[in-house]
Symmetry: C2
Subunit: 122 residues, 2 copies
Amino acid sequence: MTAQKMAVIRALEEAGRTHPTADTVYALAKRHLPSIALGTVYRNLTKMAETGEVIKIAVPDGADRFDMDVSDHMHILCVKCGKIYDIEEKDVKVEISSVPAGAELIRFDVMAKCICADCKAV
Amino acid sequence: MTAQKMAVIRALEEAGRTHPTADTVYALAKRHLPSIALGTVYRNLTKMAETGEVIKIAVPDGADRFDMDVSDHMHILCVKCGKIYDIEEKDVKVEISSVPAGAELIRFDVMAKCICADCKAV
DNA sequence: TTACTTGCAAATCATTTGCAAACGT
DNA sequence: ACGTTTGCAAATGATTTGCAAGTAA
């Protein structure tokens, strides 16, 4: 456990439910540890994604987003502003009655797309 | 309609259900139109994604994939080899009982993750 | 000590873009 | 003729990596 990893975790906590990009995590972490490097943030986030401490979310036309909430839930992306919202597990039901023969299911990532209230208002 | 766009469409047809990357589409298109440029393939795919002629699929740790099957269906990604399989609409049921207030749902992209039969066999 | 982690900068990969020439209609 | 599309190469943006120095255990 290094000061850098702690700064990254703290940054993720501060980001709350905003699903920050690596860049945003870097900016937040820098406030507490000004010497931290962007590469270090990437290295920590990548490792944490591998160990399951965070979830990495790929979005079309944009940088990856990170989510420290690893509980079962899904995401809904506003295609206009790019904000990502959460939908709690209890509010989604996914059932798959058939997978490719022999495949072992690991997890679902449900990414819904919407135009969010803020963007509709414009 | 240009020869280049036709070559891209033909490449997508040849790729079948393999969800090719832009690079793969380029390689296939080049067989029929050797003078075609990678940039042109990107331009065509991007435009086609905007108009809904193809679907662009963002995957973590990899290039975007394209799918000429725009019907309602889901994808399942093997986290080992990166292959993407289809799951027909009738084999998946997604229900969302609550979306962020005021948001207008556009579509779902369900990306399941698995270890596919080929990779389990190794 | 000793393996792991960092900061930095350069490298890589996917994708986009400026521009002048070529093309479709 | 005129707006659109192309090929090419250079530019961009995100992410990764090599390396020497620093740090946690």
